[in-house]
């Protein structure tokens, strides 16, 4: 059964999905390091290629992934556009159109930024999407010894965050039913702010009620127990090793091809 509260629904249970949440976060961090250390197309490209090829292993609904993450390439393109115009204008002139000047170097930098933004964002978002928040809370408390009251409160609040999407849809319907949706751009904008405010009020109310409901079921009492044990298995080791190899390959390839362009130094 699909959970409407999830950003991207997990439709298949793969080995990666069953990994410990801490493993997934470690993987995401390792992959990000591979793309982060240098601004070049190669290292970021390797990480991005691996992430895209690995998408089926995440068990996510691929169509939904594309529908929900369309803004990533759009945002990356925007960042690349900015880079192409603003980067140092060295190398051959490719486009010279009035104030618009792009050179081979500025375009190369733009391409690197584009790939890099995606390589940084996609592994993180995709891996985090496969994490059941409850498993994460179990892991954080049982392995990292984080304070349970804080973790569970954040967990419960994060469920509300997930609900914001469906809540927003209900709000949109409610405004349509009352005749204030649509119309001119000015009216739409005003209406949007109104909706954001209602969403805020509803969320705060809901959070207050939720806090009461949690307290009402003895939350905050010392000596809490756990229904599930968070554990690690061989697949967790394999997952981390995989991401280490990708990270190494990315950095190595950039060095071998002579495009290594470190952000520090």
């Amino acid at each position: 059964m699909e959970d409407p509260g999830q950003l991207i629904p997990v439709v298949r249970s793969t080995a990666l999905v069953r990994c410990n949440p801490l493993t997934k976060i470690t993987m995401a961090l390792i992959l990000m390091i591979g793309a982060l250390l240098s601004i070049d197309v190669v290292s970021a490209g390797v990480v991005l290629a691996f992430s895209l090829l690995g998408l089926p292993a995440t068990g996510l609904d691929l169509a939904a992934t594309i529908r929900r993450l369309w803004f990533l390439p759009a945002g990356a393109l925007l960042a690349a556009w900015g880079t192409a115009i603003l980067a140092e204008k060295t190398g051959e002139v490719v486009i010279d159109f009035g104030p618009l000047l792009m050179t081979s170097d500025s375009l190369a930098a733009a391409a690197a930024i584009f790939v890099r933004v995606l390589a940084l964002a996609i592994p993180l978002i995709v891996l985090v999407s496969t994490i059941d928040p409850r498993d994460l809370a179990d892991a954080l408390i049982q392995h990292l010894r984080l304070p349970e009251v804080v973790v569970i409160s954040v967990l419960a609040a994060s469920r509300l965050l997930g609900l914001l999407v469906s809540e927003w849809q209900v709000l949109a319907m409610a405004r349509r039913a009352r005749g204030v949706a649509g119309g001119s751009l000015v009216r739409r904008t005003r209406s949007l702010f109104g909706a954001v405010f209602v969403l805020l009020v509803v969320s705060i109310r809901r959070a207050t009620t939720l806090a009461m409901a949690m307290e009402g079921r003895a939350f905050g009492r010392s000596g809490r127990t756990w229904r599930r044990r968070s554990s690690f298995a061989v697949r967790d080791v394999a997952a981390v090793v995989h991401s280490l190899v990708v990270c190494g390959t990315a950095i190595g390839a950039a060095h071998v091809l002579g495009v290594w362009n470190p952000i520090i130094g």
Partner: protein, 509 residues
């Protein structure tokens, strides 16, 4: 073993109001006693329950006097009490059904094996036949209420505190839900305090009834004495208490002559024009892979009331939203006939722009807070008529009339989001009724109402029907459906979920 509850001159005042929400009141509830709290909508019943559970936030108001559970002020951290709040939507804690039921037991520090072994039993006791990893976000309102009760059931607390526990439960299983609650109470000899407007379900099962008036305690005693005391009955009726004797429809006491007349006449005589038609309709939430209900054929005529009934999770709300042109049809078609369509070129309400939809089809959502667009009760009521182009005088008349019928005059300037549950519900219904749409689709319009405000709502609906509007009401409240003369459409028969169908089948016998 239950704990006694004592209140001495106890009162609680919300930070932004002058008058106390509760009290001052004196109470002596003995250990293991079962108490039903009654009172008009907005009398502070919920606040009292929150105080008993010890969950009233300190910064939100001021308490005077003394309130003791056992021999100490209420403190949820002691772990002895279990509270279910009024709004089932806001008290789902985790994203999976099994985890949610386990939450209270985990807090109590029960061993994992015990927790695991109790979950299925508690789910079954509340009639939730779902896998443990079922996402809670996919549950209907009624199912969420059952889930919260299952959490309390599993905890087996010493003090059970429930705010309208059966308000969202379909009437055919309300008794079953009540018995599950009672079995927990009996097993633990727990003290139980319940708020419920429809007292009938509980009267034979409680030891005492407490009636909250505007200034503290109005009356208390065994249910038989409270309701047989002639000198008291007038005060109870004035307070909007549902009187349990006599037939359900007339027990309101405050039922207006118009509403009484409506029960006798039958507005649904089928002579009005068809306004809205559903053919082979299947409904489902956006992104859902399968419909929740399918094969619905329905014609809604002008001046006719249709009640959509069925067990929890049968797809009643989804059907309402689809008929209202707010959700696309999963399959099949919802069409507006000529009388409703007017000059619009589209026959499907879903294709209409908002400005065209609102004056034709009004929809009252299950969750009232979503619909409020302004910062005052009166402003909220005037918005619809104003958008529909009414003159100022007409708008003002309409607002005054609505405030009066629904007993919201004193709250005209209050912020809609600051109202009590029952008041919000009334306001959301009235705001939709205000511009007199041709078709009114309402989802649980009578939730949280006392007998007086209930009668006010009935009056408004009857008035709308008399003026030739059609009303489609999703409701568990059969007395309401009878009062507006609604014919029933049982969605259990169209539901694609096996449990809902089974439920419908049982009722058919």
């Amino acid at each position: 073993m239950g704990l006694p509850i004592t209140a001495r001159e106890y009162s609680w005042t919300h930070a932004d109001r002058d008058a106390p929400a509760v009290g001052p009141l004196d109470l002596e509830i003995t250990a293991g006693e079962r108490v039903l709290v009654l009172g008009r909508s907005g009398a502070g019943k919920s606040t009292l329950l929150h105080a008993l559970a010890g969950v009233l936030p300190d910064e939100s108001g001021e308490a005077t006097g003394e309130l003791l559970v056992g021999n100490a002020p209420p403190d949820p951290r002691r772990g002895g009490s279990g509270l279910v709040l009024q709004d089932p939507e806001s008290q789902v804690i985790f994203s999976r059904v099994g985890d949610d039921v386990a939450f209270g037991m985990e807090n109590l520090g029960l061993p994992a094996e015990v927790i695991e072994s109790r979950i299925p039993g508690s789910l079954a006791a509340l009639g939730l036949d779902l896998p443990l990893d079922h996402p809670t976000a996919a549950l209907s309102g009624g199912q969420k209420q059952r889930l919260a009760l299952a959490g309390i059931h599993a905890m087996s607390p010493e003090v059970i505190i429930l705010d309208e526990p059966t308000a969202n439960i379909d009437p055919d299983s309300a008794a079953e839900v009540r018995d599950s609650v009672l079995s927990v109470q009996t097993a633990a000899s727990a003290t139980m305090v319940i708020v419920e407007h429809r007292a009938g379900l509980w009267l034979d099962h409680v030891d005492r009834v407490i009636v909250l008036g505007p200034h503290g305690l109005l009356a208390q005693g065994p249910p038989k004495r409270i309701f047989s005391d002639r000198s008291l009955s007038e005060a109870l009726i004035d307070c909007g208490i549902w009187m349990p004797h006599g037939s359900e429809t007339t027990s309101g006491g405050g039922l207006s002559p118009t509403a009484e007349a409506a029960i006798c006449s039958s507005p649904g005589d089928g002579r009005g024009d068809v306004l809205l038609r559903a053919a082979g309709l299947a409904v489902g939430r956006p992104r859902a892979k399968a419909p929740v209900a399918a094969g619905i054929d329905l014609a809604v005529r002008a001046g006719e009331a249709v009640g959509i009934v069925g067990p929890n999770g049968a797809g009643k709300s989804t059907t309402a939203l689809t008929l209202a042109g707010l959700l696309p049809e999963f399959a099949g078609r919802v069409t507006a006939e000529a009388a409703l369509r007017g000059e619009s070129k589209h026959a499907r309400p879903f294709a209409w722009p908002s400005a065209l939809l609102a004056p034709r089809i009004g929809m009252v959502f299950q969750e009232p807070a979503h619909q409020f667009l302004t910062s005052g009760v009166a402003a909220e009521l005037s918005l619809g008529p104003r958008l529909a182009g009414w003159s100022d005088a007409e708008v003002d008349d309409r607002v005054v009339q609505l405030l009066d019928v629904l007993g919201l005059q004193v709250l005209a300037e209050a912020h809609p989001q600051s109202l009590s549950g029952g008041e919000k519900r009334r306001l959301s219904v009235a705001a939709m009724l205000a511009p007199r749409p041709q078709v009114l689709i309402v989802d649980e319009p009578t939730f949280g109402q006392d007998a007086l405000t209930w009668a006010g709502l009935v009056e408004l609906f009857v008035d709308a029907l008399d003026r030739g509007s059609a009303v489609v009401a999703v409701s568990h409240d059969h007395a309401f459906l009878d009062a507006i003369g609604a014919r029933r459409v049982d969605l259990g028969a169209f539901s694609t979920s096996s449990t809902a169908r089974a439920g419908a089948g049982e009722r058919g016998e």
